[in-house]
Symmetry: none
Subunit: 234 residues, 2 copies
């Protein structure tokens, strides 16, 4: 079974208890908290698969909290609220909520929607690298992940530095998806690189060694690998 970990952020203790009991019976691992500080602490403490976030949290604002969480993490968030007006719902979606459920709600319907979001989130690609033990082909080029070797369409071998290889792998893991400098820096586990122009330099050097047209610039945004990638299992 799933054993997903849910975080219920709800300041109404009775409501939170009922919700937690129900969800636990449905096979989820539930953490409860009632305010912003508790939610952030729980997120810091460990991985959370989905957040049920009440909009009205007493002193704290659920919408603002949603935005705050979303800035740092891509964790699925379902907002729960007694406020059901369209503009209030849209405010929730605006700050990155995956769904917005008005109180009172049918618990079974909530469950269905939790499952729908979890299913979808489970398949979302992340910025992490994929399997290393394969050969990737893109636009006539070839990257052997086991040997860290890059072969040009003509058969020539190109030697990349460690950092260039890491960058290439980031692109290969996210083909045709525009990546910001911040995302690239994060994928390289190098937060400092996000500040200066190190990423630009790196991209420039990689471009010089492989086909410059393969990495396109998204002005004001970042860079994209302009080719599809085929994974050859070996």
């Amino acid at each position: 079974m799933s054993l997903h970990r849910l975080l219920v952020v709800e300041d109404d203790v009775e409501m939170a208890a009922m919700l937690a009991a129900y969800l636990q019976r449905q096979g989820f691992y539930v953490t409860r908290t009632g305010d912003r500080a508790g939610a952030l602490a729980a997120l810091k403490a460990g991985r959370v698969d989905l957040i049920l976030l009440d909009v009205s949290l007493g002193a704290d604002d659920g919408v603002a909290l949603c935005a705050e969480i979303r800035q740092a993490q891509d964790v699925p968030i379902i907002m729960v609220s007694a406020l059901s007006a369209d503009h209030q719902r849209m405010a929730g979606y605006q700050v990155g909520a995956d769904d917005y459920i008005a109180k009172p709600f049918n618990p079974d319907l909530l469950l269905a929607r939790i499952r729908a979001v979890l299913r979808r989130a489970g398949r979302a690609p992340s910025l992490t690298h994929r399997r290393r033990d394969s050969v990737l082909r893109f636009a006539g080029w070839c990257y052997d992940a086991r040997r860290d070797e890059v072969t040009a369409p003509g058969g020539w071998q190109v030697s990349l530095s460690g950092r260039e290889t890491a960058l290439l792998r980031v692109f290969l893991a996210n083909p045709l998806i525009p990546l910001t400098r911040e995302e690239i820096a994060a994928a390289l586990d190098d937060d400092e690189a996000a500040g200066g122009r190190a990423i630009d330099m790196l991209v420039g050097r990689l471009r010089q060694k492989i086909d410059p047209a393969l990495i396109r610039t998204e002005r004001g945004t970042g860079y994209v690998l302009a080719a599809e990638v085929a994974h050859d299992p070996v």
Copy 2:
């Protein structure tokens, strides 16, 4: 910009037309169909980023169709229905829908939920139409989406900047449809541009590079691409 491809499956022609027009103005590439056969054909023809699926399709059953599609593909599906009872919603989620929206609905809320699902699905804007309709012809001109190249009727090549290309694609996605500045800004994912006269400048620069007569001004309203667009499969 977005340029996601949506498939609207709706047997009420008027409703479908309104929906398609609205979504096109929001910068989506919309395909319409009214029944199961049409939906399956569209899915077979090319990649679709999201399906808006009406539950009541005359002879066909939307819920069954959803299940059928889900068995074959992981494409995001939002069900749309006049049936808003909880058990009917749950039936939708049961067969793999990502969201379920009851009619009548606020178009802006629908838009927010489409965006939420697309974001979670992690789909890069579909490049299918680039491949399948990778060459668009309009009034003797030609736009190769794969290379972002524009060719004049005489055969000369015109080089457009990124933003000019984006604007041209917005027009090509909405031929003969008058677009307000706000709609263009929205399609360009640039809310700031709606305020000043950036859109006017952009249109002016695009006009200068291609035939000025191709983009007509709707005084007091916005601009129209004054040509039909043919999609050349490649």
